[in-house]
C-alpha cells in the first residue's frame, strides 16, 4: 500500500501543469473556473478540441484512439492539475467518460475506429438517452423503440420515442440511446444500445428550464430517427448489460475530476467564510471541518476503488460512492448558503444570474436525483453489497 508518487510521476505532473496553466492563463482565460454546464459553450467546445490536439483529453485511452495509455497514477495527477489550473468543467464528458469507455469496452473494432478518435479530439459531442417520462429510476421500463429497416442506405434502425433529462443534447452530435428492439419485450430483456446521430430530421431537442434558471437538460424526441444497423453496441436485445456498464464508468476515473471541482467549491466557501467573518462562528467551523473531512474521504475512497479496479473489477464498496458524494454536495450547498447569509438570496442580474455558491446550492438538489436517486442507491447497496432481498415489482 503506497500513496506517494514516483519522481517520474512528479515529472509528468510538472508537464501537464505547465501546459494547463499556459492555456488557462492565456487563450482560454475567459472560461477559467466556470461552474455552469452551458455557459460559454462554444468556447468550451473549442477547449475540448485544444485538449484533444495536445492529447490531454482522454489520457487513459490507448494511443491509437487519441489517448496516452496513462497509468492510474498519471490519471490521478492529471485530474488534480486540471482542477488546480482552474480549467472549466468538461462539456465533452458524456463522450469522454461515458460513451467512449462504453464503446472501448463493449463495442466492436468498427465502432471503436469510427467513434473514439472524434471523441478524443473534441470533434464530436455526445449525450445520454436513458431516462424517459415513465422510465426514471425504473430504467428497464423504457418504451422508446427501434426496428430494423432495409432501405436505400442499407439496413438501418428506425427509432421512435422520447427521452428526457438529456444533458447537453443541444450541443450533441451523437446520442447513446437505450431502447426496445424486441416487440412485446418487458424489463431488461429485449433492450438495445444504439448510437444515434443527433443532427437529423427525426430528432427534436426541447430545452427544459431547471430550477437554477439554466437549461442544461432537454427533452429529446425521436420521430423516425435513423442510424446504421452496425451502430448497435453489443448484440441487439442484449443492451441492458451495456447500459449498466456505462453506469459503472461513472464510478471510474471521472470521479477524480469531479472531486477536484468539489475542492474548488469548498475553497470558494472557505474564502467566503473568512471574508465575511463566518469562519469565527464555532458551529460553522465544525461544519466546514466536516465538509473537508468528507471531501478528503471521497478522494481516499476513489483511490482505493481505482487501485483495486486495476487488479480486477470494482469492489462492493464502489457502490457506496454515488450516495456518498451526492449527499456530501447537498450538505455543502446548504452550508454555503449559511456561510454567505442573506446576500446569497440576491441575484447578480435581472436574468436570474446567481453567484457561484448560491448556484451550487440550487444545483446540488439535482445531485441526489440524477444518475440514480439516493433511494435507488440505497436499494443497490442493500441488495448487491449487503445481500438483502430484492424489491418486488408491482407489475411483473
Amino acid at each position: 500500500m503506497k500513496i506517494r508518487f514516483t519522481a517520474a510521476e512528479e515529472a509528468f505532473r510538472a508537464e501537464c501543469a505547465a501546459w494547463l496553466n499556459e492555456q488557462i492563463s492565456g487563450p482560454f482565460a475567459d472560461i477559467r473556473g466556470i461552474v455552469s454546464q452551458t455557459f460559454r459553450a462554444e468556447q468550451r467546445m473549442e477547449w475540448e478540441r485544444a485538449l484533444g490536439r495536445a492529447r490531454w483529453s482522454v489520457i487513459g485511452w490507448p494511443e491509437k484512439y487519441g489517448g496516452r495509455d496513462a497509468s492510474l497514477a498519471e490519471q490521478v495527477i492529471f485530474a488534480e492539475e486540471y482542477a488546480r489550473s482552474g480549467a472549466p468543467g468538461r462539456v465533452g464528458h458524456l463522450g469522454t467518460e461515458l460513451a467512449g469507455p462504453t464503446i472501448l469496452h463493449f463495442g466492436n473494432d468498427l465502432q471503436c475506429e469510427r467513434f473514439l478518435l472524434p471523441i478524443a479530439r473534441g470533434e464530436e459531442f455526445w449525450c445520454q438517452g436513458y431516462s424517459e417520462p415513465n422510465a426514471g429510476s425504473d430504467l428497464s421500463n423504457v418504451r422508446t423503440r427501434a426496428r430494423l429497416e432495409h432501405g436505400p442506405n442499407g439496413p438501418e434502425w428506425v427509432i421512435e420515442g422520447q427521452k428526457i433529462w438529456t444533458s447537453l443534447a443541444q450541443f450533441a452530435d451523437w446520442c447513446f440511446v437505450v431502447c426496445r428492439t424486441e416487440e412485446g419485450s418487458k424489463g431488461p430483456a429485449g433492450i438495445s444500445y444504439l448510437l444515434v446521430p443527433m443532427k437529423q430530421k427525426g430528432v427534436t431537442v426541447k430545452p427544459i428550464r431547471q430550477m437554477t434558471g439554466d437549461a442544461e437538460f432537454n427533452e429529446t424526441f425521436f420521430d423516425g430517427a435513423r442510424t446504421k444497423a452496425e451502430y448497435c453496441v453489443g448484440k441487439p436485445g442484449e443492451g441492458w448489460k451495456v447500459a449498466m456498464g456505462t453506469l459503472a464508468f461513472e464510478r471510474g476515473v471521472s470521479t477524480l475530476a469531479q472531486q477536484m471541482t468539489f475542492r474548488n467549491e469548498l475553497d470558494l466557501l472557505i474564502a467566503a467564510a473568512r471574508e465575511n467573518g463566518a469562519a469565527k462562528d464555532p458551529l460553522i467551523r465544525q461544519r466546514i471541518a466536516e465538509a473537508w473531512v468528507g471531501l478528503r474521504i471521497m478522494r481516499y475512497s476513489a483511490l482505493r476503488m481505482l487501485s483495486r479496479a486495476t487488479s480486477g473489477s470494482l469492489g462492493a464498496e464502489a457502490l457506496t460512492y454515488k450516495l456518498y458524494w451526492a449527499t456530501w454536495r447537498k450538505k455543502l450547498g446548504e452550508l454555503a448558503m449559511d456561510v454567505v447569509g442573506a446576500p446569497g438570496e440576491l441575484c447578480t442580474d435581472e436574468g436570474y444570474g446567481l453567484a457561484d455558491l448560491p448556484y451550487l446550492y440550487l444545483f446540488s438538489r439535482a445531485d441526489t436525483i440524477y444518475g440514480g436517486t439516493n433511494q435507488i442507491q440505497r436499494n443497490i447497496i442493500a441488495e448487491r453489497a449487503l445481500g438483502l432481498p430484492k424489491e418486488s415489482r408491482g407489475d411483473r
Partner: protein, 388 residues
C-alpha cells in the same frame, strides 16, 4: 501510488482473523472481562510472544519486525472486530507511538525492546479526570526537588492501566527552566504510585486512574516534549481508528445477519426499505471509515520516512480519521440496537458491548468536536479576516 494491500499484508490479515476467531470470540470476551486482569493473559502472551504482534511496527534494532503502521492497523482492525480488550491498543498502539516519537536514547530503546518482545506491556497516561485531550487536561506534573525530578498529580482514563508494567506519562514540566510538556516513563512497581482500576460503562476494556505522590521517573524521555507528545498522540489516533473500523464493520455484519433472519409481517425485516436503507447508510459510513483509516496509516508511514515534510499531513489525517471513525462507529452501533429491536437492548445480546465501546472511544484521544476545531485551524479558518 497503489492504494491497495500487498500480498503480504493480506496474509497478515488472514492469519490474524483466523487466530482471533479461534481464540477471541465475543463469547470468550464475556468471560475474559470478568477476570481480574480484564483480559486473558494467556491470549496476550500468545499474541505477543508467539505471534510477535506487539513488535510488528517497532524497529528491528529493538527486536521488532520493522514493518509499518499499515500492518499495525490491520492487526488493530482485526482485534476491533472481536472487541479485543487486552493491552494491545494501549501498548502497541498508543504508548509505543509516544515512545517512538520521543528522542532516541538507550533507555528508550530498552523500553521499546521490552514491549517488542512481549515481556512487558505499557500504558499511556495522557489526561486527567476531565478525560479531555487538550494540554490543560493534563493533570500530572514533573517537579524538581533537591535536584531530582518527581511526578505529582494524577492521570485518569489510562487504558489497560492496572495491568501495565510501564507507564508513559505526559506531564506539565514544572522543573526549573523548563516549560511545556514532558514525556516520562515510570515502572508500575515504583514507589509513590497508586493504581486503581475504574468501574466503567464500557465493559470491554478497563481504565485505571493513577495518583503520583513524588513518584520518581525511570526516565525523562523528552523535555520540551509538547511537539513529540502531539505527534505521538496523532499516530495513536490512527491506531485507535483502525480498531474502531473493525468493530463497526462487525456490528454492521451482525445487524445485516439479524435482519436477514428475523421475520415479521410474513417477510424478513431486511426486505423492508426502512431497514435496507438504514443498513445501506451504515455501510457508507463503514466504507468511508475504511478509506480514512488505510490512508491515514499510509500517511503515518510516510511521516516516519520523512518527518519534516510529512508533519502537516499527519496532523490533518489524524484528526480526520478520529472524527470519521468515532462518529461513524457510534452511529453504526446505535443503528444496530435500533434495527435489532428489543433484543438489541438486552444485556445478553452483544449490541450493547459495541455501542458502549463506541461511546468510550469517542472521548479517548480527543472528542470529534475537538478534532474538527483542530481541522478548522489547520485548513486556514483562523487566518486574518476582513469583517468584524
Amino acid at each position: 501510488m497503489r492504494f491497495a494491500f500487498t500480498e503480504d499484508q493480506n496474509l497478515i490479515r488472514e492469519t490474524a482473523r483466523e487466530f482471533l476467531s479461534e481464540r477471541a470470540s465475543i463469547a470468550q470476551l464475556r468471560k475474559d472481562i470478568t477476570r481480574p486482569e480484564g483480559h486473558d493473559p494467556a491470549l496476550w502472551q500468545a499474541m505477543t510472544r508467539e505471534l510477535g504482534w506487539a513488535g510488528i511496527a517497532l524497529p528491528e534494532s529493538t527486536g521488532g519486525s520493522g514493518l509499518g503502521m499499515v500492518e499495525l492497523a490491520i492487526l488493530l482492525e482485526e482485534q476491533g472486530r472481536c472487541l479485543y480488550g487486552g493491552p494491545f491498543l494501549a501498548s502497541a498502539g498508543i504508548a509505543s507511538a509516544l515512545l517512538l516519537e520521543s528522542a532516541a536514547s538507550e533507555t528508550r530503546d530498552a523500553l521499546v525492546s521490552r514491549l517488542a518482545s512481549g515481556e512487558a506491556s505499557a500504558a499511556a497516561a495522557i489526561t486527567g479526570d476531565t478525560g479531555r485531550s487538550d494540554e490543560l487536561a493534563v493533570a500530572a506534573e514533573l517537579i524538581e526537588r533537591d535536584g531530582r525530578a518527581l511526578l505529582q498529580g494524577h492521570a485518569s482514563f489510562v487504558l489497560n492501566g492496572h495491568t501495565a508494567d510501564i507507564f508513559v506519562v505526559v506531564a506539565h514540566d514544572r522543573r526549573t527552566g523548563k516549560s511545556g510538556l514532558a514525556l516520562v516513563a515510570i515502572g508500575a512497581g515504583v514507589w509513590g504510585l497508586e493504581i486503581k482500576k475504574l468501574a466503567a460503562m464500557d465493559l470491554t476494556r478497563p481504565y485505571a486512574r493513577l495518583v503520583f505522590k513524588d513518584t520518581p521517573p525511570q526516565a525523562v524521555l523528552a523535555d520540551g516534549g509538547t511537539p513529540c507528545a502531539a505527534r505521538g498522540l496523532q499516530i495513536a489516533q490512527v491506531a485507535l481508528a483502525a480498531e474502531q473500523l473493525g468493530a463497526m464493520q462487525t456490528v454492521l455484519e451482525l445487524t445485516t445477519g439479524y435482519t436477514s433472519q428475523r421475520v415479521q409481517f410474513g417477510r424478513v425485516i431486511g426486505s423492508f426499505q426502512a431497514i435496507k436503507h438504514r443498513l445501506a447508510d451504515m455501510m457508507v459510513v463503514c466504507e468511508a471509515a475504511r478509506s480514512a483509516v488505510y490512508y491515514a496509516a499510509c500517511v503515518v508511514d510516510e511521516y516516519r520516512a520523512d518527518p519534516s515534510s510529512g508533519a502537516q499531513e499527519l496532523a490533518e489525517a489524524a484528526a480526520l480519521v478520529k472524527v470519521q471513525c468515532s462518529a461513524g462507529f457510534h452511529e453504526v452501533a446505535g443503528n444496530a440496537i435500533q434495527l435489532h429491536g428489543g433484543i438489541g437492548f438486552t444485556w445478553e445480546y452483544d449490541t450493547h458491548l459495541f455501542f458502549k465501546r463506541a461511546r468510550a472511544t469517542i472521548n479517548l484521544l480527543g472528542h470529534p468536536q475537538h478534532h474538527r476545531e483542530r481541522i478548522a485551524s489547520l485548513i486556514g479558518l483562523d487566518a486574518s479576516m476582513g469583517a468584524p
